[in-house]
């Protein structure tokens, strides 16, 4: 079929191991998915290989939407730019002071190295008080001197953080104007522009990390942008933010700290959408990779947002982001016996290099994947991902026998099953804790695995936690890339109010809301992407005076606001979170948050649905013995993508497809829904 120009959307998720590409022709609905190896350190190469696989003529592309881990990796590997800090007199150590914490409860051997060295932190004369009053005006000579010293020290990027800048940013603005005239590049990050929110350490850390990432992420994105255009691309280049919304690549280059969870966020966003289309409003997404297991809660069709995260001890990013809890239990996590004689999983991992024992690349300590191979759940003759021809099952057996079976006095099959059981218990525990912390009853949720490994453990999670069911998307391996294509554009604004509700002038609040909405709309229009509608979400962070944890109060009405309306909205939300209101206590508004969301047209998920050209019998590849519950079962093996809509299959069986393997335990059954997703339940 011939294509008219610019009707193709390309979602591209560059992960640690694979780069996934999802291409859709918006007119015909035709879809293609591709997977190439990521090129760590030269991410742009994998990016272009992937895009070229999906679309030969870049001029046909309307938009490329990109989920990236370049920022995350630069943070974890400490490969950001040499960064300086300019701050208020008396506060040179804002970053080093943190919030006076330590990395772990037990053991006092913590260490912390901030991304800005103390030698590159300079104080300037200026002071704003908590109420916004300027106590001391900015001394411009101090700024000039600090800039000169930073430049002399070959600092590439600078962060400006003044105390109480959330309450009055005038000194920071003045500093910005002056520094812009002195600094040789665009790498200047100012706290009140990035996060005009009370709490100096969180604001300083976010600003410093942004400065640290700007040169790295900025250069990466600008390189891609330039090369895309030189190769004929004339569409929109968009980046997924950690909150699952999109921004244009120039905005991302300026605020790279907002892309720290870009790829995973796209996956959760897509899962929420897929699940809701299949009638599941409450799911817990489980992304099992090589080294980690990532969990997110989607309640009432919406992914839970966290207000901040720590990339590592003391590296705090405060910016709305999809809440992802990570534990060290992936396919490559090593199983071992601790000094007490207990079987443990992780946190040490064989990763993807050298990888599990069965990869034959030098690791001889058994992993969760090795246990799945030994049990027959993973097909050692046809591994997923396409990088290896076969897996060394014998070596995996030997490793499990030696490291687990012998010390515990168990035969190799029982030991392999024990490894999987303990891994399941760890994952189940994390899911219970995450859901309880959010006040959810896990029994009302479905597990939704995406990524390569999760679907092997889905039934066990349902069983252990008492989840209602599981939903396995049709293409678990490309969910993040799919998320890129369906995500909405999003601009977030925050303003610290920090006043008792009774003292707040509602008309001032309304004018802030109007101002932010106007700004957001303007930015969306400039992005020239296509929107089906623009939605403005307004919320307030509120609490009872004296409390420190606020609740987020969504305002459904944003004009003709008054104390009663706001108070009612607060009480509704507070009741929901804590179950009871407090009498005779006044409330306060800490922050105003406005999100302007450009809804992008969604494509019809039916294009992913099975073609129903095969019967259930034709989909069956044969049988193989799978060890479960202490004995071997003769499990049917199916080609998952050939399963017709509406068919129901009983466990034990194994469903295989290019990017994942699904293990249906005895006592479970699975039904293929209209979009080709698999709904798994206990019989």
């Amino acid at each position: 079929m011939s294509k008219t120009p610019q009707q193709t959307l390309v979602g591209i998720d560059v992960g640690g191991t694979f780069t996934d590409i999802f291409v859709i022709d918006q007119l015909s609905g035709q879809v293609s998915v591709h997977k190439v190896a990521s090129t760590r350190g030269r991410e742009a190469d994998g990016f272009f290989t992937g895009v070229r696989l999906g679309v030969s003529d870049l001029s046909e592309i309307a938009a490329i939407i990109h989920g990236t881990t370049v920022g995350t990796n630069a943070l974890l590997e400490r490969k950001g730019a040499k960064t300086g800090l300019i701050t208020t007199e008396g506060f040179r150590d804002l970053l080093q002071m943190r919030r006076r914490d330590r990395p772990s409860t037990w053991g006092l051997w913590g260490q912390y190295t901030p991304v800005v060295a103390r030698a590159q932190s300079y104080e300037v004369t200026e002071r704003v008080l908590a109420d916004g009053t300027v106590h001391t005006p900015l001394d411009e000579a101090d700024i000039r001197q600090a800039v000169q010293q930073l430049l002399d020290a070959n600092v590439e990027s600078v962060a400006v953080v003044f105390i109480n800048a959330h309450a009055n940013a005038c000194n920071e603005h003045q500093a910005r104007t002056l520094i812009d005239s002195l600094w040789p590049n665009k790498h200047v990050s100012v706290s009140s522009e990035l996060l005009p929110e009370i709490r100096e350490f969180e604001r300083a850390s976010t600003t410093a990390l942004n400065a640290y990432l700007q040169p790295v992420v900025g250069n990466y994105l600008r390189t891609l942008d330039t090369r895309l255009h030189s190769e004929g691309f004339n569409g929109e280049f968009l980046i997924v933010q950690s909150n699952g919304g999109l921004m244009n690549s120039e905005a991302a280059a300026q605020t790279p700290v907002r892309t720290a969870l870009s790829g995973p966020a796209a996956g959760v966003y897509a899962s929420a959408y897929l699940a809701s289309q299949s009638g599941f409003e409450n799911v817990i997404t489980c992304d099992m990779g090589g080294t980690s297991f990532d969990i997110s809660v989607v309640a009432d069709g919406k992914a839970a947002l966290a207000s901040q995260t720590s990339v590592d001890f003391g590296l705090v990013i405060r910016s709305p982001m999809i809440e992802i809890t990570t534990i060290g239990a992936g396919g490559g996590s090593i199983a071992w016996i601790d000094p007490e004689g207990m079987l443990r999983i992780g946190p040490e991992s064989a990763g993807s290099t050298p990888g599990p024992v069965c990869y034959g690349r030098g690791n001889d300590r058994p992993t969760v994947t090795d246990a799945n191979v030994v049990l027959g759940r993973i097909n050692s003759e046809q591994p997923i991902g396409g990088q290896l021809q076969s897996l060394d099952k014998k070596a995996a057996e030997a490793a499990i026998a030696r490291h687990i079976g012998e010390p515990l006095g168990m035969d190799v099959m029982a030991a392999a099953e024990a490894v999987v059981d303990v891994a399941n218990a760890v994952m189940a525990g994390a899911i219970r804790l995450v859901s309880i912390e959010r006040g959810h009853d896990p029994r009302q949720f479905a597990a939704m695995p995406f990524g390569g490994g999760g679907a092997l453990h889905t039934c066990a999670l349902v069983r252990e936690i008492g989840l209602a069911s599981a939903l396995v998307p049709r293409y678990p391996g490309i969910v993040s890339a799919l998320g890129c294509v369906i995500a909405d554009m999003r601009q977030d604004f925050v303003k610290t109010i920090n006043q008792p509700l009774a003292d707040i002038d509602p008309s001032a609040l309304e004018s802030h809301i109007e101002h932010f909405s106007g700004n957001g709309r303007q930015q969306l229009l400039e992005a020239k992407a296509e929107f089906s509608e623009i939605e403005v979400q307004v919320s307030l962070d509120m609490l009872y005076i004296g409390q420190t944890h606020s609740v987020d109060v969504l305002l459904t009405q944003v004009t003709q606001l008054d104390e009663t309306i706001i108070s009612a909205a607060f009480e509704k939300r507070y009741l929901q979170v804590y179950g009871r209101l407090l009498d005779n206590v006044s409330t306060a508004v800490i922050n105003l948050r406005v999100a302007v969301i450009g809804k992008r047209p969604k494509f019809d998920l039916n294009v992913l649905a099975p073609d129903n050209k095969h019967s259930l019998e034709q989909a069956q590849r044969g049988t193989r013995p799978v060890y479960h519950g202490g004995s071997h079962h003769d499990a049917a093996v199916y080609d998952r993508l050939r399963l017709p809509t509406g068919c129901s299959i009983n466990g034990p069986c194994v469903l295989e497809q290019a990017d994942t393997t699904i293990w249906i335990e005895p006592g479970f059954y699975a039904i293929v829904d209209k979009f080709g997703n698999l709904v798994v339940r206990q019989q």
Binding site: G90, F91, R92, D93, Q96, M97, R98, R99, R100, D101, R102, S104, T105, W106, G107, L108, W109, G110, Q111, Y112, A117, R118, A119, R127, A130, D131, H135, I163, A167, I198, R199, E200, E202, P339, E340, G341, M342, L343, R344, A418, D421, V422, A425, V426, G429, R432, L433, I436, E437, G439, G546, Q547, T548, H549, Y578, G579, R580, L582, N584, V585
Partner: protein, 579 residues
């Protein structure tokens, strides 16, 4: 033998339930000391001995050991007054029985199975205010517990599932912040409710007998692992002595003396030689002492599971009537200072046995500072906070700067939050240069805090380590002393005044515009300072963690004009000094 897989799975499930109880209280609590600073803890305890079976990961470390005593107090109550009913919950804050101080309210619930007590679930949390002379109850001038707050012995706050409103009324009448009290109590009850529900589900799934077997086995294994750790230490007797500046009432120093004996797989920790109980509030009860020993050992051997097995191979000798064996009505409000010192002497004594396993001491004082006054509208304000300091250098590297106390995981509120709530302004919020104890691995830096009051106010300070600095280990040197100073009458930013009791003072009068300054201790160093590479010392100089003079005096490193180390001159100087 019990199935090893079941053991691993159930260990995780138990810890998880305790973690969920922690999470429930943190979310529900009204009071920032619980909600933000996590000054609370949850766990399960043996039905007959009260020993710790399982403990949550997120609670306050010092409670982990103290809770067992709280449960024992309830077991004693049951012996004296008869068996409880299903649905009964005990409440009390008696620090002599249950450990720590009056703010820590313990809720203990027997969990029944087949009409028998299967185990106890317990929740402890720091309530904001429990009456007494000083809001928040840190009264450095208390000489009797009655001046510190209200003392409640074990009573049934819930009988057969029915909350006893008369007891709630007594509690509400004995706090300056009844709202906070209601919120915290409800949070603790919610945590217990969840704990019981989860535990009953486990019993249904696995049977009580299996759970018993698993819990016994877990303790056995913790004990065995602890014994292996002890066996690795060379046999011998190891001493350490440290001091408290004073008790806040009398100026004399107080001695904490420990001798640790390693004999095979057995450890004896003997505090003979420790000062007698004192007039001021730095006494601790026997249960608090045992809890501190538990914390010290868990920091050293952090891979051992958090249950009573940790102390099974340990004999503890606490001299009667010493300040570590306080009985009513000795004041105990400043218990934190004493337990930090107990932890320090154990670190130092064991460092003599196994330097490769120990770290330098942390800053060793919580520096409870409160500044209070009245707003222009006449309403009262009280800023109350604990301050941080340096952690000790350790075998893997330099100590953490500005960390929290080893007994707690609490964070400090942001400056901007404090400034927005109270008429104060921080003029310094910084690392205290030069405060880290010299060592091959340097101690972390303490904090330098300067606060200006923006209307007239009055200050209170409860601190320590003003005369005896945090020791280093393995030839590491001590960190800097705690130092508090403030403006005298009519002065501004001179900091000419010091407290008569070193780091403790009530009634510091401050006029609008006057300031106080707190310089907290750094951590002790690890290893000999002359073994620190000259380049690392030069980097410390470039970051102004130490001065050029300190580089020379403490580390024997000669710094060039361009900031680099002069290696030849350094070698020569170090050689001369060593000779």
């Amino acid at each position: 033998m019990i199935d090893p897989v079941l053991l691993s799975v159930l260990r995780g499930r138990f810890e998880q339930v305790a973690d969920e109880m922690d999470a429930t209280l943190f979310n529900a609590a009204f009071n920032p000391i619980i909600a933000e600073a996590h000054d609370a803890s949850h766990g399960f305890y043996d039905a007959t001995s009260g020993d710790t079976l399982v403990q949550g990961k997120f609670g306050l470390p010092v409670f982990v050991g103290a809770m067992a005593f709280a449960v024992r107090a309830v077991i004693q109550y049951i012996e004296d007054n008869g068996a409880p009913d299903d649905g009964d919950i005990f409440l009390f804050n008696d620090p002599y029985d249950g450990g720590t101080h009056l703010n820590d309210f313990k809720l203990v619930q027997p969990i029944f199975n087949d009409g028998q007590i299967f185990c106890f679930a317990a929740s402890v949390a720091h309530w904001h205010d429990v009456a007494g002379n000083v809001p928040g109850n840190y009264n450095p001038a208390a000489t009797e517990i009655f001046q510190e707050g209200v003392l409640i012995p074990p009573v049934k706050v819930v009988r057969k599932g029915i909350i006893q409103k008369d007891i709630i009324s007594i509690l509400a009448a004995n706090t300056r912040l009844p709202m906070s009290m209601h919120g915290d109590l409800n949070g603790q009850l919610a945590a217990l409710r969840l704990g019981e529900e989860r535990l009953q589900a486990l019993i249904t799934q696995y049977t009580a007998a299996t759970l018993h077997e698993v819990l016994t086995e877990l303790r056995q294994r913790a004990k065995a692992q602890m014994q292996r750790h002890i066996t690795e230490l060379p046999d011998g007797q190891y001493h350490a002595t440290d001091y408290l500046d004073n008790d806040g009432i009398n100026p004399e120093r107080l001695t904490i003396n420990v001798s640790v004996t390693v004999a095979g797989s057995k450890l004896t920790i003997d505090f003979t030689g420790t000062s007698a109980a004192c007039s001021g509030p730095v006494n601790i009860s026997r249960s608090t002492t045992e809890a501190s020993i538990y914390v010290a050992l868990k920091h050293i051997f952090c891979d051992v599971a958090a249950n009573a097995g940790v102390l099974d191979p340990v004999d503890i000798i606490i001299p009667e009537h010493s300040l570590m064996d306080a009985t009513s009505p000795r004041p105990v409000g400043g218990y934190t200072e004493t337990i930090l010192r107990v932890i320090d002497v154990i670190f130092v004594a064991l460092s003599k046995a196994a330097p490769e396993k120990l770290n330098g001491c942390a800053y060793g004082t919580i520096n409870a500072l409160s500044i209070a006054g009245h707003h222009s509208n006449g309403s009262r304000w009280v800023m109350f906070s604990f301050f941080g300091g340096g952690h000790g250098g350790h075998p893997e590297g330099d100590g953490l700067s500005h960390g929290n106390a080893p007994i707690s995981m609490a964070t400090i509120p942001p400056v901007e939050i404090l400034e927005s709530r109270y008429p104060i302004r921080f003029t310094q919020w910084a690392l205290r240069e030069g405060s880290g104890g010299p060592g091959m691995h340097r101690g972390g830096l303490g904090g330098l805090y300067e606060i200006e009051v923006m209307n007239d106010a009055r200050g209170f300070l409860f601190g320590e380590r003003g005369e005896y600095p945090p020791p280093g280990v393995n030839n590491g040197q001590p960190g800097a002393l705690n130092r508090f100073s403030f403006d005298g009458p009519g002065e501004t930013a001179t900091f000419s005044q010091r407290p008569p009791m070193i780091s403790k003072m009530t009634g510091i009068e401050l006029q609008c515009g006057q300031r106080v300054r707190l310089e907290s201790p750094g951590g002790g160093g690890y290893g000999a300072p002359f073994d620190r590479p000259a380049s690392a010392v030069a980097e410390d100089v470039s970051n102004a963690f130490i001065s050029v003079q300190q580089a020379l005096d403490d580390y024997g490193v000669v710094i060039n004009a361009d900031g680099s180390a002069d290696d030849a001159a350094t070698d020569a100087h170090r050689q001369r000094q060593r000779a």
